[in-house]
Amino acid sequence: MTDLLTLEGVHTNIGRYHILQGVDFVVPEGKTTMLLGRNGAGKTTTLRTIMALWPASQGQIAFAGRRIEAMATPDIARLGIGYVPESMAVFSDLTVKENLILAAREQAMDTARLDWIFGFFPALRKFWLSRAGSLSGGQKQMLSIARAIVEPRKLLLIDEPTKGLAPAIIGSLIECFAEIKRSGATILLVEQNFHVAQQIGDSVLVMDNGMIVHRGDMAELASDIPLQERLLGLSLEAHQ
């Protein structure tokens, strides 16, 4: 198994704040890696740094063997990285159809792939010509994910997809991620909800204070309650 994404000693400063303080990890190809941690641990910053939305001040980021930390965001995206930001990031003034056409860039959309997407998100077919801004929160999140998978991507970076969603919608998202996994996609997924994380993840990274404090198999962490408490529960208490 090869490593599709590698971060070595990555530091990120935002203004006078030193957010990432030497992040090291790898994302193996074809696997789903969960990035967990308390609020403010640096998970979102890690994804944004990979996409060069915030530049790394130090360290190396390699994707498919190619250094990307000095590249511009559009060039990184064009290498085959799909990014789903948090907070239901859709283009509100465009229709569902236009949002997906935009994500497919110059290429025509593959109808078989669209049908595959409509399989887990039927609402998108129903509201195909509606403005994305008029969708409900859950539908916007579905659209946001659909935008990332409308074209096959080598790597998906997904930031807290279940945040603020109803349990029924979370269920369909889990099914969707399972299906994406089966299609052989590589995913790096930030998630606060451990119940969701353990159903999707193959491996797990836990962040705290801008560093990776644990890495291992998801199954191992899921079965080790004291370890969960130490990494996630204790970490929370320590910062309250």
Partner: protein, 355 residues
């Protein structure tokens, strides 16, 4: 629908208003005799195209530029200087266009690549500085531009009022002036339809995505600085073309008619009144604004006299024609307050939720 690039007005009232404006503009020479109505109609056409090109920037990309009148002025001055220097010939008109339009495009390209990479406010400041410098240049280089006096010139014979094509058509003499008016009408309509095509193309979708969230668009793989620069160049080309038509209508180009910052403010008001990000708003905004600018004073004079004759207190003074600018200002404050999304936004109504 094809001609509207699949983007109809989406409101019966708006469609009727737009049809009425286009029909009235098309028949103005025949139903409103005299120079003033024709001048007003030509100005509406030219400003509708100019405002639509500014809408491409402000409404579709969220970029505030203060250099739009500069591009308009470049078009005006290019054709004026060429016709003044080379004499009234079609070769001079072509020379003005061939020099003016690429110059406007090159300047827009330079400004875009230099300043659209960074914060929007930086772009606004750069355009303000460049436009101010251009205004000073136009005033100072009097050997070329005529300085504060500008340049008056003659048009090719075909477009002169003395050239008569038909002596009497529905009671109107069809001369070079009428031909110039219809060239302006058709030219401006073509530019507006072209802009409608642009904003409804895949390129237009990217512009709208950039307006909403530039970083999100970049994360999808779009090099937004190129899209914004391309939009800036397109807007500059249309503005310069509108400037060419304006100079040919006035047979004059000067700082007050083609470069002043008051024109820039008028354009901003027309975009806001009509409705940003709609293109159709440019037609409505230009029509309302230019009609108010030209007829509000006369209308107030009549209203003031009527109030005085009726013996009403206070009203004759309030409606005195000298106070027309005050009422124009109040009219715009009210229109922005009551129609925050512009006339087009208001007529189209709020979008319905998908559920």
């Amino acid at each position: 629908m094809m001609i509207l690039s699949g983007d109809p007005p989406r409101s019966r009232a708006l469609s009727l208003i737009l049809i009425a404006i286009v029909v009235v503009l098309a028949i103005t020479p025949f139903v409103f005799p005299g120079a003033k109505p024709l001048n007003v109609a030509a100005k509406i056409c030219i400003f509708a195209a100019l405002v639509a090109s500014y809408d491409l920037l402000l409404g579709y990309t969220g970029t505030v530029s203060f250099a739009h009148t500069m591009f308009y002025g470049i078009g005006s001055y290019a054709v004026a200087i060429a016709l003044y220097g080379m004499g009234p010939s079609w070769a001079a008109v072509a020379t003005g266009i061939v020099i003016g339009l690429p110059l406007a495009a090159l300047l827009a390209l330079g400004i875009g690549l230099f300043s659209l990479r960074v914060e929007a406010i930086f772009f606004a400041m750069i355009t303000l500085a460049v436009a101010s410098a251009f205004l000073v240049l136009a005033s100072q280089l009097s050997w070329l531009t005529g300085g504060e006096d500008g340049r008056s010139f003659s048009l090719p014979e075909l477009l002169r009022p003395g050239t008569v094509f038909i002596k009497d058509l529905f009671g109107v003499r069809i001369n070079g002036r009428i031909l110039t008016y219809y060239i302006i009408l058709v030219g401006c309509a073509a530019m507006i339809l072209g802009l409608l095509r642009v904003v409804n193309s895949p390129f237009g979708r990217v512009l709208q995505a950039v307006r909403e969230n530039r970083f999100r668009a970049e994360a999808l793989g779009y090099r937004t600085v190129f899209h914004l620069t391309y939009a800036n160049v397109l807007a500059a080309l249309v503005a310069a073309s509108a400037g060419v038509l304006n100079a040919m209508w006035l047979r004059y180009a000067g700082p007050d008619t083609s470069l002043s910052f008051s024109i820039m403010l008028d354009i901003l008001l027309m975009v806001v009144i009509g409705g940003m990000g709609t293109i159709y708003g440019a037609i409505i905004g230009a029509t309302i604004f230019i009609l108010a600018q030209n007829y509000l004073q006369a209308l107030m004079g009549a209203a003031s006299n009527a109030a005085a004759e009726a013996g009403l207190p206070l009203l004759p003074g309030l409606l005195h024609p000298d106070r027309w600018l005050l009422w124009l200002g109040l009219l715009f404050v009210a229109s922005v307050y009551f129609f925050p999304t512009g006339v087009v936004g208001r007529l189209r109504g709020a979008p319905k939720p998908a559920e």
